[in-house]
């Protein structure tokens, strides 16, 4: 799994690519923690390049969401469609991890 980072003003956009499973979830979680520790508290996670996310990946998203809240920051998720959207649905994450239809909407929601 690769993670691409971009800045849009004060917002950091994280774009993981490939699979987020038990083998890669820790690496993904560490990447998010590093950003938060570096003071990047407005995060948008764009999942459009993700082909698979398992329960381990969802756990990392929930941990990151809590960490941003602890630091008075915000975390948004966007780019979720197809099979990955179905996995969000079966995990019943509708209210826990609201999905924004576009990256722009995600950025607006954390600003």
């Amino acid at each position: 799994m690769d993670v691409v980072e971009q800045l849009a003003g004060s917002v950091t956009i994280i774009e993981p690519r490939g699979r987020i499973d038990s083998a890669t979830a820790k690496e993904f979680g560490d990447c998010l923690s590093k950003l938060l520790n570096a003071g990047r508290h407005q995060l948008v996670i764009d999942l459009h390049s993700i082909t698979y996310i398992s329960s381990a990946g969802f756990r990392q998203l929930l941990i990151a969401k809590r960490s941003t809240q602890d630091k008075n920051g915000k975390l948004a998720v966007c780019g979720v469609s197809g099979e990955v959207k179905r996995l969000f649905d079966i995990g019943a994450f509708g209210e826990l991890l609201p999905i924004h239809p576009t990256r722009e909407a995600g950025i607006a929601s954390v600003q």
Binding site: R19, D21, A25, Y52, S55, A56, L62, G91, G94
Partner: protein
């Protein structure tokens, strides 16, 4: 004195307590039947919906939407009307039968939206007369008059209620494409039966004015449906009927003697049940049973539409809710027969489409629609207007209705990947049905046992489809196995195995996706704690109705919670990902079972196809 006083006091308390208890009982009944939410707590309202099933819109919105639904459903009154015409029922009797029909529609709508015991889905899904029972009803009317129609309708309703809990298991014998075929042939049979009443050898020849009226009626309904917007489009059938009446009046097709009966009909009146008598004919079991199964499958399909419409997180049909809905549909048809209505009822698919288009799917609308039906049932003047409908208008309305039924059937058939087996099942069955319609005398050349079944195009095509479907299942199941070593887990290799097999077997992509997620998520969840050593065997099997995956490994069982673990459990516990994984695996499959034998655990995943 004191005791007497106490006695008096306690007596008064008891008297006061009764109304209080009664009101509590009523309140609790209403809460269970209506107020309690029907959508699951995890449901999310789709952005396209303004009011979901559990929302309560204002009275004005509820009223306007209720009127639209009743207007939409009104077109289907042609089915009981045509059955009445087949037995030459006098106009006052037709007027009364239609009034009773309105009450039945009200009852059917109510028991669908209220949840009484095991009955009713709770969704906004009004009842309507249905084409399903039209062709068999016409046969029954010709053989034994209205009592036979009523009696066979009771049988059909009882059968629908009986099969309601078994619908899922019947899928193997009654697959989706065969239900599509049944619906298509229902449309064909109903359309041809209607046309025969004006073009058949025994029908009164059609005059030129009738052609004009029929063309204007059908043309206006179609044009409004294609080009109009808003309310005019929603009510296109009702407006088309009104235009048909107006043109028929201008062309002199409204018999003044009959119109006098409308004039004489009262604005208010109580429907009568003196006409009710029932009879039964075993030779009609087959057509009514097929119509009943078609109605059950159609109701299940419409209820699925409602579930999807109300919940953006919808994953798969809730069979408990569908069973309740189909059960209430069957009971409404039984009541139609008992009350003496010429034809059974069914959930209205166009109504579900209307809810989707308007974004208003609140259960309150169903209550309003039921109230309107009920009121119309006590308005003989209105049912008298319907009873004298000129045949040109009736047939045009029927053509309009069956067009949608036929295309709906075709869409259902085409929703499946039509491999060689299904092509033969559908092609030969349609051909058989059309043969009976075009060459009805061919039935007399058959042995009497077969002729009893083959006498109706609907029965013949369905019977052949069911038979061929069973025969062609021989050799349909395929299997493949993959071994995975604990030390060499490669999720990509497992995915590739399932995707390659799925493609080779012709499995739907969404089913293969679910199967692939099931196996890879299971391996992730068990790799750390439950499966520590040895070889895992993944055995996949497939036929056109299901994909089964059995995963066997040496080790312990994985917990598969029915409720999602709390956010704290997922996030803060080391077991969080595993617990969530178990929950997701349960939600991902249609059925999941796990068991241990001789130190080996097997997890069975079942996916409907």
């Amino acid at each position: 004195m004191s005791a007497a006083l106490n006695g008096e006091v306690s007596a008064v308390s008891a008297e006061e307590g009764r109304p209080h208890e009664t009101s509590n009982t009523i309140r609790s009944f209403l809460r269970r039947a209506y107020s309690a939410p029907i959508l699951p707590p995890t449901a999310r309202k789709p952005s396209s919906l303004i009011y979901n099933a559990d929302d309560r819109p204002s009275i004005a919105i509820a009223l306007s939407n209720g009127v639209q639904h009743v207007g939409l459903i009104s077109i289907n009154l042609v089915y009981p009307l045509l059955i009445c015409r087949a037995v030459d029922a006098p106009i006052p009797m037709v007027e009364n039968l239609l009034s009773v029909g309105m009450i039945v529609l009200s009852f059917g709508t109510l028991i669908q939206v209220l949840r009484l015991g095991p009955i009713g889905s709770g969704y906004m899904l009004p009842s309507t007369f249905t084409a399903s029972y039209f062709a068999p009803g016409l046969i029954a009317a010709r053989i034994g008059g209205l009592p036979l129609v009523f009696g066979m309708t009771i049988f059909a309703g009882a059968l629908e209620a009986f099969v309601a809990p078994m619908l899922n298991r019947l899928r193997t014998f009654l697959p989706v494409e065969v239900s599509g075929l049944v619906i298509f042939m229902l449309g064909v049979a109903a359309g041809l039966a209607g046309l025969r009443t004006v073009l058949g050898p025994t029908a009164t020849p059609v005059n030129s004015a009738e052609w004009v009226v029929a063309a204007m009626t059908l043309g206006s309904m179609t044009a409004l449906n294609i080009w109009a917007k808003g309310l005019a489009r929603m009510l296109c059938a009702l407006i088309g009927l009104t235009i048909g009446y107006a043109v028929a009046l201008t062309a002199g097709l409204l018999n003044p003697a009959l119109w006098l009966l409308v004039d004489q009909a009262a604005w208010l009146g109580i429907p009568q049940f003196g006409h009710v008598a029932w009879s039964f004919n075993a030779t009609l079991i087959a057509p009514f049973a097929i119509a009943s199964l078609a109605a059950a499958m159609k109701a299940a399909g419409t209820l699925t539409i409602c579930e999807k419409m109300n919940d953006s997180t919808w994953v798969r049909p809730n069979m408990r809710s569908i069973t309740r809905g189909v059960l209430s549909d069957g009971l409404a048809t039984m009541v139609a027969g008992i009350a003496g209505t010429p034809g059974g009822v069914n959930t209205s698919t166009p109504s579900a489409a209307l809810s989707s288009a308007t974004g208003v799917a609140s259960r309150n609308i169903a209550l309003v629609a039921a109230a309107i039906f009920f009121t119309l049932g006590f308005c003989p003047k209105l049912t008298a207007v319907l009873a004298v409908m000129p045949r040109a208008v009736v047939v045009a309305a029927l053509m309009y209705a069956v067009t949608f039924i036929m295309i709906n059937g075709l869409q259902i058939m085409m929703s499946r990947m039509l491999d060689v087996r299904r092509t033969f099942v559908l092609g030969l069955s349609i051909l058989a049905g059309l043969t009976i319609e075009v060459f009805p005398k061919s039935v007399s050349m058959m042995p009497s046992e077969i002729a009893a079944v083959a006498g109706s195009s609907l029965v013949a095509s369905t019977a052949i489809a069911l038979l061929l479907n069973l025969v062609f299942r021989i050799g349909a199941r395929k299997t493949a196995t993959l071994n995975v070593e604990r030390e060499q887990i490669d999720p990509q290799k497992i995915e590739n195995f399932l995707f390659e097999q799925g493609k080779a077997w012709g499995a739907r992509q969404d089913v293969t996706n679910r199967a692939s997620f099931g196996v890879t998520q299971l391996i992730e969840a068990i790799a750390e704690t439950c499966w520590k050593t040895g070889k895992m065997v993944v055995r996949a099997s497939f036929d056109e109705y299901r994909m089964e995956i059995a995963v066997t490994y040496p080790g312990e069982r994985l917990e598969l919670p029915e409720e999602r673990p709390s956010i704290e459990q997922i996030r803060d516990s080391e077991d969080g990902a595993r617990l969530l994984g178990g929950f997701m695996l349960r939600r991902n499959a249609d059925h999941i079972l796990s068991g241990i034998q001789d130190g080996k655990c097997t997890v069975h995943f079942h996916y409907d196809h």
